[in-house]
Symmetry: D2
Subunit: 436 residues, 4 copies
């Protein structure tokens, strides 16, 4: 493959909200300061290698639809290297400084672990060079779900040999992450769950998963990898039930097994909505548990019961997401990874750019809206006032754990029927919308 | 009211599976031993006062449909006492030894807390007498959701006065529980959640809830009440999001705030399915976290998105539920409370009996099925075999936390591609069904 | 009650998008022309009497929270008349020219039909006078779901006496609609469905419903009422399954029973999403079946499985809704009825205004966005181009039903493998968002 | 491939409910008479070629897991012929007389239609011979969703060339169906729907689909194929919205375009539950619209939002399904096709047998339960009594369309408040369960 991979596509520039150019940013202006930080430092956008460079458009009812011109139809190491060059041209044209991948996305799997590792090393070397000084992995992960050996799980497989294989694969992926200077390392347990409890020993599987994570923590320290370890919750699909169901479930697991200080969460919006919450809810749950680490920036279809991994285009949702990010003081070392894919029917090379630009602009617009909300101040004030009865002496006693039932009963009798003001939800919604 | 409340209804007896008598047990035989325990000791059935004696048939689109003959249309203390007598006749005719109630179900609320407490005391005295030596509350709880003062929550209300009022009400309800010899005390946080995160300070609300529970633990000890404290998870309704979403979420909350040793869970099947799990899943989750305390025996409609509180009639579901109960060694001091209501359109007095008999028989049939499964042994054997590769030296090392990534990689390289046998789910389902 | 009902609330005026005044329109400017019509003629906003004036804030777990100052706590005819005056002051202050009601909302029910009708007449006389020349009912309907007699349905009740009673009630409500100059008459079959198929003869019930509708058509003609008859689909709640599940189901019913020319649909967005579609989908389905008659303007919570009847505040959704309305050439004689209620926790009188203003502004903003999309033209052009292969001779043959399989096979063989261009969904989404 | 494909598997025999042999029928006894018909004539079981012989265990997150010993890893015509022999050995060992397939399941696709048709002819010739006199296709269909050409739909593709190609493919498949003596021909429009309405002209697409079906009806008549044409509804997946959403939606489409007399429906239980109904509901809806044609016998997971295509093992669900079948007088010329697949993790050859035996036994058990319910009679009697107020003179007038609103009002006034008896749902559930 000679020359450019995306010959007709220029470096994407910021042209502002009035631009009609699909290949320009209307809201994302990387170096513009918003709320005291450059937009790019708030966002830390990352391209997901698997969707953007390995996504085929296949689905359970249909074959591949994407046939990018640079692909030669093989799964060779040579092809993997060429594809990696396409990836870096893509990152550079978008102006994105982070990328994410599974081990098996970037280099061909093989019939032995040794050979697979060798393939990986070869491609990683190319990536390392192409990264230069400006680009790094936002996160790295091991693909522990595609290969049939993982059909019963990886760390939770009923087969000890699979557990060992998975450990070896994660070990290698962590080394690669370290080598490439990855900011974080992610665990998504796609097969860590069950299809039926009838043939499953859930207790034993959960114990195994904990042991696996403990070993990962130890190995990370051993090799001096400083990236945050992240768990990515998902309620189900491909399993009927995935053990890392949502943020709260994952937090409980981490607490139960003494891992709460060693892990944070990588929250994916589409996963969250599949678990019955708003994305904002699970971001807040993670934040309040001190474990909001990174975000997989995508969205689902509210009427669809599986992971559609769409690029987020809803301005309201993006604003809510950015509210959590701003409250968290940003996501670093995590960021926004576009775990999002083109629709199966979108088959033009330019669609890859359009989709990412749209996703980036949507979140950037969300950030600008949050800035407007903060500047306006009335939403925060509404919330502050709502709880002001606790900003009192007795409120302080309660919050300090010093108000027992007898004291509180005394107060209740003294005060009589409490006055309960309006919750003002419609006003809050009106203020919120006015910033969109 | 003179004489019997249910004049045409005899004491319900066990007549066996061939009986066609709607007013007889076909599967529940209280004193029969199954798996080493009397059925009644496995089941510990309880009648829910609010559904059975205070349920009106009203719904958001319709007025009351139930007009039991003993009701005089008032909410007086006299009526409350008469109704209590109906309750005990009902329990006695069913042969059930446990009952559950909210404070405000059994005695009229009032415009002051003092008066409400006085009403409660008067009715509790009657209940105490009617209980005699054989009947006790399975659990008691405070109704912290009906009164408009609780519209923003009780322990999580934005108003400090409401927090205090709720504390006073729980204090009293715990005293009543103690006085009546209740086996447990339940917290269902129907309003402890939010309608919108826009006007909510979730972090502060969760902290308040923890303080409230800590105070409850302290008060329980102070008065010498030995009943288990139980949290009843529910994902939503009436709130958009209830903080005690499911078993895992509740466990995380309890761990975060250091309450995990002081509380267990009261799992309600309909609540579980609304949160996206099977009832069996959440029972197992609670059990594996050491906090399976009691069960609210009901079921939902799989196509309906709200709490229908139906009596469970699905034999397969009942068998799965009983699997967890048997693994837990029973539920005592908890039990099975029928948090289940007649359909709005079921308006005959006998329907109250038919519904309870049906619910009791279904779970009893589930228990008998579990006994068959255990006797047959092939399902347990299938599961045991599935994990046998961990019943080895290296399996033991892993489970003891002594197998690090380097060791595991070595093993993986040594072993080559692992063999992964069939999961045999269809066989497991066939065996399971053969016991139904 | 003397003087104003809403003393602190001015006539609501348009102040434009930069206004921070909660009691002003930012997007809805009644007399401004958009796409060739005044905004008020596109929107035809209507206030729902039951939510705004009879909504109590009660829910299945809680008592009433709203205590409007003009209410005296009675359900008397005098109170009904006073409340009607509040309604008209509300309409006038909002600048809304339409209202909707059920018979039993506006006047007290009674123990006999004669008396209930007399109550209704008395209140209708007041309404008629207050309507003056500018205000009219967008629609009228009979409340056939609240009273316990309707617990098994109205037109589909298993009791012939209930069927007759419902007919009598609809007859009267149609007379009232005629008298007040209502634009349409609506049927919402809240109880026309089932809780269980085990005790239901669905075929017989559907036949009865058809007979009932046929009688309504006949009576409408007889009294010379020219308003459109509308069916309002809803999938479920309070029933497990409502016969008018969604637009397509309702259309099938109308076609099967020869009623398709006599009815249109009143589509409610929250009902639609509960049935698994986007609101826009069902609006388009109704439109393409020639039966888009009116809209109940509300929205649901995407994570909630029951009817929340919230005021729509999502700009994207509002824009999609308005796309259908504009394609339909407007909704007249139908319009946008706010079948939306304040949150239970919103208890200030001003919240009633804020909520309506917010809902009106959201839809008005949607209309403005549609105008932008139409002016821009690129979205319509994208769709036109996508289908242009049918704007050909063979396309015309197919669309005329003149291309048989043999001819098509011949073409397929002649043409070889067809080229299939990108669907450009992400570009479409980008264009759509740029108008928001 | 020499000799048997399933060497260890005997001809499956009926051994009765007490058998513990996984490879025996416990409830399905083909020649036993139930309710006046042989079980095999009620059931007309069919094996789905695509799941059983082409299912790979691949899912969106994982590669193939099934590697049947007779597969050589190629997609050659020779392999297709060998596989067909495995199919017939499977049918014979199960004792099943029907099979179903898509054109592309049984023979390799090719780069030209001519070549694909030639492949098909070659394999069909083998199938024809292997069918002998006892085995026939329950149905045949064309696979119009896998190939990327169909990514925008087949009959509803935006490309006229795809429409023609699809027509040619259906033409050929109908000829094959005719040649093999298929009982019916099925249309499942997996891609006939949309991913987004933003880039879709739904009206034009629906018109095209109708034209396509009209051409199919004409071609069927032309070639003298007498098999019923069937539409298989599904709400979504792979599309966000499939046009044949459910039974009612499909019926509306058929009525709108004058096709209601030319098509029936093939109802798939898992599709129905994804559309928000119980399977029984859609079977009844189809039956009441006169278009219940055949059943795809499978089930979904109640907590999962995609098509799991599991073998049905729920006895209650099977009994409800059989209730509809018995009311319909059977399904012939349709039947029960096992559109069900092994779990991805079930990889033993014997699992194929176990799964089918389990599915067949479950439905057979359902039929036996229906026979018990009918013999007992009390459920039917409960329903009959419930509607008996319509078995009267006025009921007859209403049902004949002769009771107008004036007459009904007169009756309502004459009768006063109607008595409304209990719906007895719990009793109905108790009776139903007693038959399981």
């Amino acid at each position: 493959w000679e020359g450019e991979f995306f010959p007709g596509i220029p470096k994407i520039k910021y042209e502002g909200p009035t631009s009609k150019n699909p290949l320009a940013y209307k809201w994302y202006n990387a170096d513009e300061e918003i709320l005291g930080k450059k937009m790019k430092d708030w966002m830390r956008f990352s391209v997901a290698y698997w969707h953007t460079f390995r996504g085929t458009g296949g689905d359970p009812f249909g074959a591949a639809t994407k046939h990018w011109p640079w692909e030669d139809g093989t799964d060779s190491v040579a092809m993997a290297k060429r594809r990696m060059r396409a990836n870096f041209e893509f990152l550079n044209k978008l102006g994105v400084e982070w990328w994410c991948f599974h081990d098996r996305d970037i280099a061909p799997d093989a019939s032995t672990l040794e050979e697979a590792n060798a393939n990986l090393d070869e491609v990683v070397a190319v990536a390392k060079e192409l990264q230069g000084t400006k680009i790094k992995p936002l996160w790295v992960t091991a693909q522990l779900f595609m290969h049939p050996r993982y059909m019963h799980g990886a760390a939770t497989s009923s087969e000890v040999g699979v557990y060992a294989y998975a450990a070896a694969q994660v070990k290698k992926a962590m080394e690669v992450a370290h080598h490439l200077g990855a900011a974080t390392y992610v665990f998504w347990g796609g097969r860590e769950g069950y299809q039926s409890l009838l043939n499953t020993d859930m207790g034993r599987e959960l114990d195994h998963m904990a042991r696996f994570f403990q070993a990962a923590v130890a190995y990370k320290k051993k090799i001096g990898f400083n990236g945050t370890l992240l768990i990515e919750p998902k309620p189900q699909e491909p399993t009927k039930h995935q053990y890392d169901w949502d943020a709260a479930t994952s937090a409980n697991f981490l607490r139960k097994y003494g891992l709460i200080d060693d892990f944070k969460l990588n929250i994916e919006c589409n996963h969250v909505t599949l678990s019955g919450h708003s994305c904002h809810h699970d971001l807040e749950t993670a934040r309040l548990n001190g474990i909001l680490g990174s975000i997989d920036a995508n969205t689902g279809d509210p009427q669809v019961g599986w992971d559609t991994d769409q690029f987020m285009t809803d301005i309201g949702e993006a604003t809510m997401v950015m509210l959590s990010v701003v409250r968290n003081g940003g996501l670093a070392p995590g960021g926004f990874n576009f775990d999002a894919k083109l629709r199966r029917e979108s088959t033009d090379v330019e669609d890859l750019f359009i989709a990412h630009i749209s996703g980036m602009d949507t979140l950037a617009r969300g950030l600008r809206n949050v800035a407007k909300l903060i500047e306006d101040g009335s939403l925060a004030e509404l919330v502050r006032k709502r709880y002001q009865s606790f900003d009192t002496e007795i409120g302080a006693l309660i919050e300090a754990g010093k108000a027992d039932f007898e004291y509180l009963e005394e107060k209740a009798l003294e005060w009589g029927e409490p006055k309960v003001p309006s919750g003002k939800q419609e006003l809050a919604e009106m203020i919120f919308q006015s910033a969109l």
